[in-house]
Every structure is written in structure tokens, then in C-alpha cells.
Amino acid sequence: MNLSIPCYWREIPYRYRLEGVKCDNCGKVMYPPRPRCINCGSSKLSKYKLPETGKVLTYSVLYESPNGFEYNIPYVIAIIELDDGTKLLSQITDCPPDKVHVGMAVEAVFRRVATSGDKGIIAYGVKFRPISP
């Protein structure tokens, strides 16, 4: 994906620091953050730092990719259920695709995600890797 540089800047709090929001009224956690609660509609929300550990709820090994991820094939996309129950989507890294399993304990790690062409900017994000026992 070729996104403009401001697209990367403005996503830093939630993408790099895993900052979501929590509804003061009903307790719903939202990630990515929204200005109003998707559950009760309240605009009284507080910044909420997500836990950095959790387990794999479901995953997929990709053998075809969107443009820009050709060199990552095969790679693993997963929904991770964090320790507080919040779910988020990311990649699983530092693990052979055939070793990933549902329920695998994982932790957040800062990683390069993609580059825009040969001379474009490098996009970073938070991936998840297995917690060594």
C-alpha cells in the first residue's frame, strides 16, 4: 500500500503504542479508537493502553498477498485476544507458519511491516511473536 506520510504519523499512538479508548459509561474497549462508543454511543471515553500479551484466537497463513506483501509469502495474519479480552488484528512473526496454533501465547514486538517501493518510506507496526516457555 502506498499511503501518504501523514497517514503514518497520525496512526502512531494506536499503531506503535497500542493505545485504544475505553468507554467511561459502559466499559467497552475500542481498538482502533473511535470518538464515540460503538456499544452505547457515549462520547465520554478515556485513553486506554492495551496489554502487550495474549493468545492467538484465530489465524491464517497467506499464500497470495495484496500488492506490497509479495516478499512476505507465506506469512501469518491473526486475531489476538489480549489478556484483558480485547481483540486485535496483526501479523505473527518470529515463528514458522506451520508452528502457529490457536491458543498460542504471544507478545507484542515492534517490527517493519512493509516498504513503499524501492525508495519509499518504511512502515513499522506492532506484530506478535510466541512467548518462549
Partner: protein, 385 residues
């Protein structure tokens, strides 16, 4: 509000139409639809389309189509709601007629996916997701569906077999559909042994990439006889929205937008889910077919694998599902798909579906989805008496 009729449907075969542009495809479907009516010009055209600017470098599609197809100076608007663009166009067409603002309305969709290499198509389709979040991490549309399939398999303790059995049925149905992109039967072994695209989704779990256009002609129910000899009634229509990203949902295997929209549409049509005689559901991938049936309330949750095996969804079964072959085998020209579904149902309720015909249906339901069901568009048609 006025009641609304569909007086005609026009479809092109779904294929890789290298020789036809967006406007040529739409005009072909529109001419076919108009042929059985006494209408030569529409008051308004609503064109569903998702990928024109990404793959054909074309915007302003509404005006281009009205101009090319000979419908100037009709109102003409392109509507984008990802894979539900045509469903959204039909809802808009319904609102236009029901409100009294327009009398003769064309609602449909057109898509050309064959214009570019697959990786660009994958990227374009991936834009139905939350781009700065899901597509950012390389999550293709297929992989988002694969996340649901893996979770379904874990939750209900099933393997890939029931999904492959569903694919076999879709191909069997498509084999007698003259508009289908994949009109051939497959074996269970062929489905199961096809290569992974995004594990656990393999090639035969997926709808193909293709081009096509389908249109419907809508008018007030009371005036339908003035324009055509036969017609169907739009008995219920509704849409609802869910989070764009999959992970934000409490229950990933329940399509809440489908559940809410279907309940509204059943209420509007004054029927219960079990009154539906035939459905055309949005099986982009076999898993999406499963969770769609379970979210529409026509199948109990987790029971789809059992019913597939028992033959419940066959054309002569208790609940015929996608007698056209569905997105899976009829094809999925994304922004046109919702119009194909309603067009197939229109043919069914007019007893004009040929070898696809199910025995005398009274009610048919179409479910058209945007992305991973961030939007659902439900249309219930009723046989006109």
C-alpha cells in the same frame, strides 16, 4: 410510501470480458432488461460499482453510463459500498420509487476485475477492509474470511469437508446457469485437494474474479402493469452496518449487520424466516455462506455442516440455497453481485429461471454483503398475484 415492483431483470454472462468496457457491459444488461418492457428511457439510474477508479481509472460512472446507454438526461449516480454496491443501489432505487420522487428507476451494478493483474485486484478488493488497520498489516480479503473459517472449524469441531461439500453443490447449481462464470461440476476430492490461498481457505472455497453487469427495472407496484406483463413485488428491504474491522466484533461468527437487516426485512414483509422459499446468499467464500445462513435465522448456529451433508440446500431440498451457483460458482463481479442475486430471484419468482428453477417459490431473499459484512443489504421479493 408507495409499494415497489421489479418489472424486469437483465444480466450479462459473468466472464473475463476483455472486449467490453464498464459502460458497454452495463448498457448490454440494461438493453436486455428493457427489451421485455414498454420503457425506452429511465427517470433515474443507480449504478453499483466498487473498483472503477482502482482498476479502470474511471470515476463519474453514473454520467458516463447514462450518456453511453442513451438515457440522458436521467439522474444517474454511481454508488459504492464495496461488494454490496449493487445492494445499496437497489435500496436507493427502492427509496427513489417508494418516496414518489421517481417512477421508472434502473438499479444495478457493473464491475470489471479483469483489467489488471491479480495482486492489484487483491489490493483493490482489500480496500473493503479498514485500510489503515487491516490492509496495513497485509490482511487480504481472503485472509479475513480465513480467520472466520479457522474460528468456525475450532468452535464447532469440523474440518474442511463441509465447506468443500458446499462448493460442490454451488458448482452443480452453476453448471445449468447460462450466466455463470464457472458452469462446471467439481468433485469433493478436487475441492479438498486444491491449493491454499489463505489457509484454511483453498482455491475452491473462493468466488472467482470476473466481469459482469446486472440491472433491474423498478416502478410503483400499482403502475407495473402499464409497463410490463409480469413483475414481482419488493416485499421487504433493509440494510444495517457493523464494525469494518473484524476484530472489533464481540462475536466474529455472527454477522450482526445481516441479523439486524434481515429482522427488519422480515418484519416489513410480514413474514418469518421459515416462509422464505429460496435464498441467494453472499458466499464470497464458503465460510461466508455458512455464517450468512446462520445470521439470517434460516439455519441454527453451527448446523450448516449437517444440513449441507443432508442435502437441505439442494434445489429440491427444504431450503434451496443459491440455485444460481452463488458467488462461489456463478461468479462475483463485486459491485454488480447484489443485482445478480436479485435478478436471479426475480427469474425464480416469475418461473423463468429455466434449469435453475426451484418449484413455485412465493418468497425469495437476497443477502448482499460489504466486506466482511460491515454492511448487509437484504431484499425480499414476493410473487405478484
Amino acid at each position: 410510501m408507495r409499494k415497489v415492483a421489479i418489472i424486469s431483470a437483465g444480466l450479462t454472462k459473468i466472464s473475463r470480458h476483455w472486449d467490453k468496457s464498464l459502460q458497454q457491459l452495463f448498457a448490454e444488461a440494461l438493453d436486455k432488461a428493457l427489451a421485455s418492457t414498454k420503457i425506452s428511457k429511465a427517470d433515474a439510474i443507480f449504478v453499483g460499482n466498487m473498483c472503477a477508479q482502482d482498476l479502470s481509472r474511471q470515476n463519474n460512472l453514473g454520467a458516463l453510463i447514462a450518456d453511453y446507454s442513451g438515457h440522458l438526461p436521467a439522474t444517474s449516480i454511481r454508488i459504492e459500498a464495496a461488494c454490496a454496491s449493487a445492494g445499496a443501489a437497489i435500496l436507493t432505487g427502492y427509496m427513489a420509487v417508494a418516496s414518489g420522487l421517481y417512477d421508472v428507476v434502473v438499479a444495478g451494478g457493473v464491475e470489471k476485475l479483469s483489467e489488471m493483474n491479480t495482486k492489484y485486484v487483491t489490493e483493490a478488493l482489500g480496500k473493503a477492509s479498514n485500510v489503515e488497520y487491516e490492509l496495513f498489516y497485509g490482511a487480504s480479503f481472503v485472509s479475513l474470511n480465513a480467520l472466520m473459517m479457522k474460528l468456525y472449524m475450532e468452535t464447532y469441531g469440523v474440518d474442511r469437508t463441509p465447506f468443500a461439500e458446499f462448493a460442490v453443490l454451488m458448482h452443480k447449481n452453476a453448471s445449468v446457469n447460462p450466466y455463470a462464470q464457472l458452469p462446471f461440476e467439481i468433485t469433493l476430492d478436487k475441492a479438498l485437494s486444491s491449493e491454499y490461498i489463505a489457509e484454511p481457505i483453498s482455491l475452491y472455497d473462493c468466488a472467482p474474479i470476473g466481469d459482469g453487469a446486472a440491472v433491474l427495472i423498478m416502478c410503483p407496484l400499482e403502475e407495473a402493469r402499464k409497463y410490463a406483463d409480469s413483475f414481482v413485488e419488493v416485499a421487504g428491504i433493509a440494510s444495517a452496518t457493523d464494525t469494518v474491522d473484524l476484530a472489533s466484533r464481540d462475536d466474529i461468527l455472527l454477522l450482526n449487520s445481516t441479523k439486524v437487516a434481515a429482522e427488519k426485512a422480515y418484519k416489513m414483509a410480514k413474514i418469518a424466516p421459515q416462509d422464505i422459499d429460496v435464498v441467494e446468499i453472499h458466499d464470497t467464500f464458503t465460510i461466508m455462506g455458512f455464517v450468512s445462513l446462520e445470521s439470517l435465522g434460516v439455519v441454527e448456529r453451527g448446523k450448516t455442516p449437517k444440513y449441507v451433508k443432508e442435502g437441505v440446500f439442494e434445489k429440491d431440498g427444504d431450503l434451496p440455497v443459491n440455485p444460481s451457483g452463488g458467488l462461489k460458482a456463478s461468479g462475483h463481479p463485486v459491485g454488480a453481485t447484489g443485482a445478480y442475486q436479485v435478478a436471479y430471484l426475480t427469474l425464480q419468482l416469475l418461473d423463468a429461471a429455466g434449469k435453475m428453477q426451484v418449484p413455485s417459490p412465493e418468497y425469495g431473499l437476497a443477502q448482499n454483503l460489504a466486506g466482511t459484512a460491515s454492511g448487509s443489504y437484504i431484499t425480499i421479493l414476493k410473487r405478484a398475484r
